[in-house]
Symmetry: D3
Subunit: 132 residues, 6 copies
């Protein structure tokens, strides 16, 4: 994308997410004629591809959208809740074969950090302390 300002391009990530995209992100690239441009990538469920491709055409200056089908190896996801001095925080539990990962839920941590006036990483550390 080289003919849209960053200002007008930025809100499109949220609009795609609100419309059902799995994820969306920008990659800084360098195009012809020395243009400091941005590549806009959107991950969608195959069933949403045409609908979300059309939304990109509607919301940005681009003339076309390139797409491809990818495969995924995904871990199983579940949720736990831990009690910390900053309140209850949900933890995402991901498992795959013998791998197990627990990571604190960002939105819960952010809300707690604001409520208790502490740094976000203090909340994260409080959660880690409760994980075995």
């Amino acid at each position: 994308m080289d003919d849209q300002s960053p200002e007008t391009l930025a809100p499109v990530i949220d609009q795609l997410m609100d419309a059902g995209a799995l994820d969306a992100y920008f990659t800084p690239i360098q195009m012809k004629k020395n243009r400091p441009a941005t590549q806009f990538s959107v991950l969608v469920q195959p069933a949403d591809r045409d609908r979300l491709a059309e939304l990109v055409l509607r919301l940005t200056t681009t003339i076309g959208v390139r797409y491809q089908t990818l495969n995924r190896t995904v871990m199983n996801r579940d949720f736990e809740t831990v009690q910390t001095q900053f309140g209850a925080i949900r933890v995402k539990v991901a498992t795959f074969k013998d791998i197990a990962k627990r990571t604190p839920e960002f939105e819960d941590c952010l809300a707690a950090a604001k409520h208790y006036h502490v740094a976000l990483q203090d909340v994260y550390q409080a959660v880690y302390r409760k994980l075995d």
Copy 2:
């Protein structure tokens, strides 16, 4: 690409475009051994793939070229011309279903900006003023 200097890599974009590539761009990446490297991407018509892959091998230090086939959803494109205080400027008109986008042609705007000694965005704004 981690064994070619930016200086010798830069002209390759133009050479690929002159040879018929649809688009070409650089993406800054970070490779092993702490190398601040560049990924070189070229978009080509399928019929040109072998010819342009060979050109990349000829013009750069790379030992191999990776490729994949992509699909595109593209808007219909047509051209209009608008008269502004900076002369005649072509406008690209893209349509798809109920979406219509008009964007000024860059090369026309640049030439007008240089001729009339104004900023490029002044020419763009003059064009927008003529679009309904």
Copy 3:
């Protein structure tokens, strides 16, 4: 910054802006040991430097903050309002010697785009049409 996750670093821009910073931004960098890191820059009024430097130490994992004094050449800023088919939009008017620039206010354009269900750049173009 190489020891903080993007997730915990991202909200810090808004917190610094809310606390009175003039601007704040991230620059992707590559640090030693092959770390894909981020440089965090904050622009502040000189009188706010110590207060905001301390806030960065509080909100991030960094051990120190580097700072320097810069000078600025700034245009004069004023506001106008234009009436478009998408409602009233404020326009920032910047002047300096014989240079005059008018740019639509982003927040007004975004609100109008959402209200009228149009692309953001359609609102911008509607504003440009009203500028002489």
Copy 4:
């Protein structure tokens, strides 16, 4: 990848290379919620895909791995050795149709540069002088 620090992500490139990946690199990206994040890409032989995808799940915070199959056009590779004032340096000779490229082997050049206390590019230039 937006929930892992650069510090903990950086060693993963070497671990993937040691485990048999063909190449691995980071791309700076910008994700939702203003996250200055990193995309981690790994190139592997098809037969290694499941094993190395699992290794990524084990070594990083990611919940899933996306993958696709690519094709390659690769030059033929052979090795020569040249004698320079900095000792013997291997040179990679790549050929494809009428294209021939000779590039000095990095590790040999680095070792020679350290041994003779010269800049790395001085060793490279010494090698170029020996190539016809």
Copy 5:
């Protein structure tokens, strides 16, 4: 830096660190003539400036080095050791006014992760669990 390959530039970070630099990093930039280049930044103690500037001139292709003096607000640093199921890990304790931050030492965590065949973030989490 636009006339040096990433391959030959990468080792310079370590060489500057070994020679006493406080820190060194690369920033991807886009220079004239469409060059995907790299900015090389080095942080040094003022007394080391001339010596390390000369080292950069010696080790890279650059013709000149730009420098400026910066100020720093730095937290007080001390070390603690915690015992985890992965052995003893040093923790950096940074304090400034009422701010206190504890972060595990990277090299200790990396060594423990390799020795116990676990992911690096598992070691970090084990350390966080021991911090109050």
Copy 6:
């Protein structure tokens, strides 16, 4: 810079260089509100600062320009010419204390590469072969 498209920003590098700037480059950055923006940096002789700052205000959408004075350690520069199978190529010779660096002049190499239909790095290597 977050309110100008890459397309309209790109020509400004050349315009600044034509007006006497020593160098100009773009750095990809991430600004507030998730904007994938660009930082525009220009290096100028102190005597040109006001004139070129005004030119940036004229040619871009920016409202202000920040500046600072830097110092430089610069090598002595001279030119030599070498004869290669691709014609005469100028070589920049840079010296400082006991450091001596010879690098081929880019524009000469590019012209020769086009004239003889060879890759740019073949011309560079031909030049290196002639340097002692």
